[in-house]
Symmetry: C2
Subunit: 415 residues, 2 copies
């Protein structure tokens, strides 16, 4: 019987085919995938309907069922995302550094494929296409564990990816799903050091924590965000109102949404009422410390848990601080090092915030929602890394590659 | 009582001080360390003598005792290595990429310190100075576990590093040794995710394997090498003789030394006798397959274990293959992906070898001993990464840093 390890080995065996393919061939495969997605949308929708029915029966929340659902419009969106990846520059072969050594050796550092990329995520079939398509462009095979809840949808999507590869003569084994093996398959993927070069978890904080804790394969942690905005003493009121509102409410369920607002005491009376009024008008519940509640009595009392909360809802923790130092200390203590922004007119405070806040993205006078591969112009996003190793912040094609050193000699030996 | 975790937290607390220090201050600290090493050499030698005496008593091998030993000349060498790091460019603050987004946001990716770098290594006090000094230049604190066998030497060296930091007003806590906590301290270092940003094991294959398997902190694997040279059909005999001899014998105990020689059958009779004669003259024992032994009867019989052997001695496995394909397959199966070199006059074969061998460093017509931070002109080396995540090949200052994204706005919000 086939095991998850067999399929991981199959991906590894196919990694040479996709790894050596040139850009024209990889783009042809992706174009074929985009066409097949549209041509076979009925098949996808039928498979997806089974997942949705199972999900309803198993009591999946409305939000999760919505993420799971694929319809014509969403399938067209998936095809567009694949075509977007076709249009991006191929990262493979880029020469990053190079030199001629005193002995004449010509040395260059070249971007190369990882080999096999693993991904563990939850019931979002769009991630299946996103990650596999990015892996194809980056010259790597992929092994996907998308969760039992999306098993039927993912099976068809992976068939389409495999058919797209085969249609241009590439080894179809370079995309694999291991959903059918359940949790045991995920375990085997996490143990597959030597077969899988990097593992990317995407999903809830608990899923990511499990993968980070258990994986023997190197992991890129894509993190949830306890994201802060600090309204400094000199902040413009209009910017504060708009940036806080946008950061909190434009899409509250995502990792770059604002969770805690810190306000300099000297700006509180001047700025905070207008900021909180606009939030309240959009239905945001304010969890305030004592000083906030004195200014804004409608706030509920914030507890220690609120400072660490990733609400992902229309809730916001608000704290009034005495100084930039206190804001920096609070951020150092509670931030998940995803994104923080300062609103200020003071250049020294802006520079200090940029230098001292140790997060993947640090901003001045901008909404935290801009931490995004699409907004950064990367054209594709695999997730937002909150670790410091390998990649930090929005990850796209170059972040899904490795490098190697090429040395060209003419008989040189070491003295 | 102080625990290893206390000292790790102390390093974390000090990481802001070293992380925000500018190049002049960091260089001043390193200059002070270099001076103190020489000024306090008697103190170092006394402490080292205790370690050497304990080592003799505990039956350490002559080789290990030699690595452990510090004398005036070696201490001067350590001071020189620190001064060498002073002379290198500061990686921190380098802008790697940047763009202005359509909405006017100015985005840049800047090199920043890791924060806290952990290192686990074995009874080599020179590594204490190397890694701590590189970490200081790279703006990071370091937590060093150098092994109980070097505990007394390391304690004095770490005191000198701390005194050097304090002498320029930096937080002395930015260098810590946890040797005194034995294996338990190493365990706590490996569990310190969130406090330690990256962990670097240096030493035997078994030490590295243990750290890779057990660490919850992201690891950069610095690997041992089953290093191959392939003599292609068209190889020049003189280059083959010199490159193989140099790769094997110039320093057989290190990771970039040759371990397995593959020879194209069509080159064997023409090239191999001269290659093996020069090796034999230097005392190399040849472990040959049947075809090799037919040409060179003095060879001992190679077993399967020889193809996977990291001898680190004057032993060499030799195999005759029918084709470049067979050589590539053998390398794919047995290589530890450190360094491989082809000797050839055939440009197509050279390019194919460079493209298809999936190792940190791939060479044409050059000795494998060139895989080295010093040879590459990096000025300092932390080890040679054989993993694909974050850094691959010789690691120096830039490899011991992370990045962050800086976003400068003027009230932008996301539409």
């Amino acid at each position: 019987m086939t095991t998850a390890v067999d399929l991981i080995k199959r991906a590894k065996a196919a990694s040479g085919s996709i790894g050596q393919a040139n850009t024209l061939v990889k783009n042809a495969a992706l174009n074929a995938v985009a066409e097949l997605l549209v041509a076979r949308q009925d098949e996808i929708i039928v498979a997806n309907a089974i997942d949705l029915a199972n999900g309803s029966q198993n009591g999946l929340s409305t939000g999760l069922l919505d993420r799971l659902k694929l319809d014509e419009k969403r399938i067209a969106g998936l095809a567009d995302a694949v075509l977007q990846i076709v249009s991006l520059p191929d990262p493979i072969g880029e020469v990053l550094r190079g030199m001629t050594l005193p002995n004449g050796l010509k040395v260059s550092q070249v971007r190369v494929p990882f080999g096999v990329i693993g991904a563990i995520y939850e019931a979002r079939p769009n991630v299946t296409i996103d990650i596999a398509a990015i892996a194809i462009k980056a010259g790597s095979a992929s092994v996907l564990r998308g969760g039992t809840a999306a098993e039927n949808s993912n099976r068809v999507l992976v068939q389409i990816l495999q058919d797209g590869l085969a249609s241009v003569g590439l080894d179809a084994g370079a995309v694999q799903t291991i959903d059918q093996f359940g949790r045991e398959g995920a375990q085997q993927l996490m143990q597959a050091r030597g077969l899988v070069d990097v593992l990317i978890p995407r999903g809830s904080a608990s899923l990511i924590r499990t993968v980070v804790d258990e994986s023997k394969v190197p992991v890129i942690e894509t993190g949830d965000g306890v994201v802060h905005v600090f309204i400094d003493e000199t902040a413009r009121q209009d910017w504060a109102v708009e940036i806080v509102h946008n950061s909190k409410t434009q899409r509250p369920s995502v990792c770059n949404a604002l969770e805690t607002l810190l306000v300099h005491r000297a700006a509180a009376v001047r700025v905070l009422p207008a900021v909180l009024k606009k939030l309240a008008d959009t239905g945001v519940t304010i969890h305030g410390d004592e000083a906030t509640r004195a200014i804004y009595p409608a706030a509920v009392e914030a507890t220690d848990a609120d400072w660490a909360a990733e609400y992902y809802t229309l809730d916001l923790a608000v704290k009034i601080v005495d100084s930039l130092d206190e804001a920096l200390e609070h951020i150092a203590k509670y931030s998940t090092r995803h994104t923080e922004s300062i609103i200020t007119e003071d250049i020294a405070n802006a520079e200090r915030f940029l230098a001292e806040v140790d997060s993947a993205v640090v901003m001045v006078n901008a909404a935290t929602r801009f931490t995004d591969g699409g907004e950064f112009g990367f054209g594709a996003e695999v997730g937002i890394s909150t670790q410091k190793l390998h990649a930090r912040g929005p990850m796209a094609l170059p972040e899904l590659t490795s490098t190697k050193w090429i040395v060209r000699g003419a008989g040189q030996i070491r003295a």
